[in-house]
Amino acid sequence: MASPGESVTIVFLGPLAERAGTQRRLVSAPLDWSGLLGALEPALAEEVAGARVHVACSGKVLGDKTALDARAGDEIALLPPVSGG
């Protein structure tokens, strides 16, 4: 596993944490969109690639998640749809 200084942290929110079996995971930096999908289990990658899941990097929600460009120390959040009422 990568050490925090040279890695990117992936944070799984809501039901995605259950499916990932963890709330956070460290992966090697840098990490782009295909790297992110490659770091996830196939079913999870498919869900993250779908229109319902948003991606944030360093506290900003990406308008185009496929433009992800995470560097060492960055935190990526995978955000499933919020629950509503």
Partner: protein, 146 residues
């Protein structure tokens, strides 16, 4: 007066709304909405997860938009996170304004956005098992009103 908070522990809405009202001298009206954990469908507990870097900043953005859109003197927006039980308050939004329509509409606006667009994920325990709550079509329709 602007007071935007996430709370980990149970709270008493009146204890917040009283001081908030007094902090806005000269107001013409205060409108308050309190949401509680519903006691239906054998719900034993509700748990709200949030994401620190986005959830509270998102509530501040929402407050900015409410101040831009309505003629407000003050806005209180408090949301629980963590585990709670039926009858416990989850959310309290209170708006103070010179005129009632701004206060009422600002609360309605904030509640629709907190429900449909704020970064919270909820799961409830029924029959001893956790179930994630999925978004409903009605939540998107509520948002589309604005």
């Amino acid at each position: 007066m602007r007071d935007i908070r996430l709370l980990q522990d149970p709270f008493v809405p009146g204890a917040l709304v009283g001081p908030f009202t007094h902090a806005n001298p000269g107001l013409g009206g205060v409108c308050t909405f309190v949401g509680e954990v519903r006691g239906d469908e054998n719900v034993q507990a509700l748990e709200l997860t949030h994401y620190e870097p986005l959830t509270l900043p998102g509530m501040h953005d929402l407050a900015d938009r409410a101040f831009d859109r309505f003629d407000l003197m003050g806005l209180l927006m408090v949301h629980r996170i963590g585990r709670m039980h039926p009858g416990e308050p989850i959310v309290c939004v209170s708006a103070a304004a010179r005129h009632r329509r701004d206060a009422i509409d600002a609360v309605d606006f904030c509640m629709d956005h907190l429900k449909g667009a704020a970064w919270f994920w909820k799961r409830e325990m029924r029959g001893g098992e956790w179930h994630w709550i999925e978004p409903r079509e009605a939540d998107y329709e509520d948002l589309a009103r604005w």
